[in-house]
């Protein structure tokens, strides 16, 4: 029994972190965010060289055949540098959907292309998970989709869409009939509203697939928040060690260092929860949904605390665009609401245990 990363997992984490420092520098993120770029193909191409898009794709289809824990480590590394990538849709949700409910033909058609980064995929699964807003929802009939899907993930320029209809059945569609960016607080990722007016689609077979997709997405979002929180804490500590006021580094004031200690004390145990939730997804199916829900809701709470506190430790400069800290602040804020805010997710967690009707 060992509750720790393996050598290979540590290696994966290190090599990704190293590559991302160059691929997704703050300057690059800024250009994406402020320039209103729809996608950042250069970053995805760089990550494709490391095999990242094929992390969850079985080896027979050209991927690495790894598990959700490895994917969570990747999501954490991406969150650390608030990288603009289609990782969640393309490398996690679409491959999983195909693995769970795709025909051999569908797998052969899509998995190799997704694995080498030659194609990307988005996912429109918000309504049956987070609830339908403003009349959104997709209906499937006779192989055609109609309706609207809000908060579609990584759907900009995607070659393939995974769409959940109102009843929770998943479909593969080549494209929507219309697609519009939903400007949100987090400019490091693009959310879209998809409109379907009879777009052709193929239904996937497994009816439990949406729950599995939801669990995986919750763990990935939790890991992304974890990574973003780690950077915010690191930067707060670094700043507090340099900044001088009253003739002392502000990090020597307990009022400041205790804030940093509180952030670390919240973050470190959350890391163990996220790791376990990812491990349970592949190894403890009876616990997987509950742990994914807790990981999502809990990182939302500590994420909010760390995002505001790390900004506060920086003082006024933390609020400015100059430092760019706000990209992390907003990424964490967006993760909190994506695919269900903590209250909704906790209610589902209670239901999973028979504690709520």
């Amino acid at each position: 029994m060992r509750f720790a990363l393996s050598e290979d997992q540590t290696l994966l984490q290190d090599s990704l972190t190293k590559a991302l420092a160059d691929l997704s520098s703050l300057d690059r993120v800024r250009r994406f965010a402020d320039g209103g770029e729809a996608t950042a193909p250069d970053i995805w191409a760089g990550l494709s060289e490391l095999g990242l898009p094929g992390l969850l794709v079985p080896e027979e289809h050209g991927g690495l055949g790894l598990g959700l824990l490895e994917a969570a480590l990747a999501a954490e590394a991406l969150g650390r540098v608030v990288a603009p990538t289609p990782f969640l849709g393309s490398a996690v949700l679409a491959p999983l959907a195909l693995r769970l409910g795709g025909s051999d033909e569908q797998k052969r058609a899509w998995l190799p292309k997704l694995a080498d980064g030659g194609a990307t995929a988005g996912a429109a699964i918000s309504e049956p998970i987070a609830g339908a807003r403003d009349g959104a929802g997709v209906t499937a009939e006779g192989g055609k989709l109609t309706g609207k899907a809000l908060f579609a993930l990584d759907a900009m320029a995607a070659d393939l869409l995974v769409v959940a209809d109102r009843s929770g059945v998943l479909h593969l569609a080549a494209k929507a009939d219309a697609s519009e960016i939903l400007p949100s607080i987090d400019a490091t990722r693009r959310l879209t509203e998809l409109t379907f007016r009879g777009a052709p689609a193929e239904a996937l077979s497994s009816n439990q697939a949406l729950d599995r997709l939801r669990d995986a997405a919750w763990v990935m979002i939790a890991a992304d928040t974890l990574g973003a929180c780690q950077t915010m804490l690191d930067r707060a500590v670094e700043y507090a060690k340099e900044r001088k006021q009253f003739g002392r580094t502000i990090g020597s004031f307990q009022a400041v260092k205790h804030l940093c200690a509180e952030m670390a004390a919240e973050l470190e145990p959350a890391r163990a929860l996220v790791w376990y939730a990812a491990y349970a997804f592949d190894n403890a199916p009876e616990e997987a949904s509950l742990m994914a829900a807790h990981a999502k809701a809990h990182t939302s709470e500590i994420g909010r605390f760390i995002a505001r506190t790390a900004t506060e430790v920086h003082g006024g400069i933390g609020m400015t665009d100059l430092l760019g800290l706000h990209y992390w602040f907003k990424r964490i804020g967006q993760n909190r609401q994506l695919l269900g805010g903590p209250e909704r997710v906790r209610e589902l967690a209670a239901r999973m245990q028979g504690l709520a009707a």
Binding site: F3, S252, A265, E268, P269
Partner: protein, 388 residues
Amino acid sequence: MDLTLTPELAAFRDEVRAFLEAHKDHHKDGAPNDPKAWQRTLIEAGYAARTIPKEYGGYGAEPDILKGRIIAEEFIAAGAPRGMAGQGISMLVPTLLEVGSEDQKRQWIGPTLRGEVIWCQGYSEPGAGSDLANLQTKAVEDGEDFLISGQKIWTSTAAQADMIFCLVRTEPDAAKHEGISYILFPMNTPGIDVRPLKTMTGHAEFNEVFFTDVRVPQKNVVGGRGRGWFVANTTLKHERGMLGDPNATEARLKALIELMKSETVDGHRIIDNPIFRDRLMQLQARVFSMKFNGLRTLTDDTAGLARLVVKLQGCELNHQVAALAIDALGELGILYHDGPHLRAKGGWQRNYMFDLGLIIGGGTAQIQKNIISERGLGMPREPKTVGA
């Protein structure tokens, strides 16, 4: 990450289960019928004093964190009482093993493990709390002996204890941290006055202990004269390990869930109230976090920071679990002492009050935050005040 048990560990778990099944008549309601006999049985079987060498009265197993955890889990699952865990066993014994003389080890470890000698800890003083090294209880040389005078506080079990392990100032002219010695003496030595210290729980969980010219042989010092600060830090390390144990928190959360499922208001179960349910789920996520964090600290070399936060987070979480139980009980939650309608013998209220003491004791939350930020995050120390 591999959380499956190896065949060896699975066999060990079966052994523990078989032992518990065979001995289920030796205890009732979580308490042993004969505490000393139970302790001897546990040591013989290797479920108490497991890694203490045989020659000193232990079981003599190689340290194996995972077997230790299996024992803990199986005992909790079976509702069986663990071995004795007073300050003598948890703190003095590990300290003697690390720095005691051969004579001291042979004289004290065995009887302490068997529950024949009860110890109390004489560290804190009215003027030496977080700043423990400021302690003023003095030990003045008198022939082969010291004469000890001064006052200790927060001394739990002082009234029942046979012996005390105590920090005293033996070198008044040395620097603050270098004038202290760690010394052992009987609590029935003339000149010792124990006064109960009643806390907000209504019980005297602690005592004040007054020393007036208490005569103690100099040879009773452990780890060398003037070395007491370093010896004490060995012991404190063991104390912090005891506080914030996630297994205990998990058991309390389970009790809280049962409470919320069984208690009703106007005929509606508390668990059916969405606000209480949400608070419960928030705490459950924290309990899982601390549980997995605990597992990680056992087996992950990179878990340094994870280890430093256990006392702070674990004690706070226990307090919050008790707080939610009281809120869920509502007006019933304010009942205390014996009386009608009282739930859990007032245990939730008692925990809520006593656990606040544990947030403070064994290194306050604020001291813990200093430790986390300085040792864990490499932040600078507070500049020293001149003269302190």
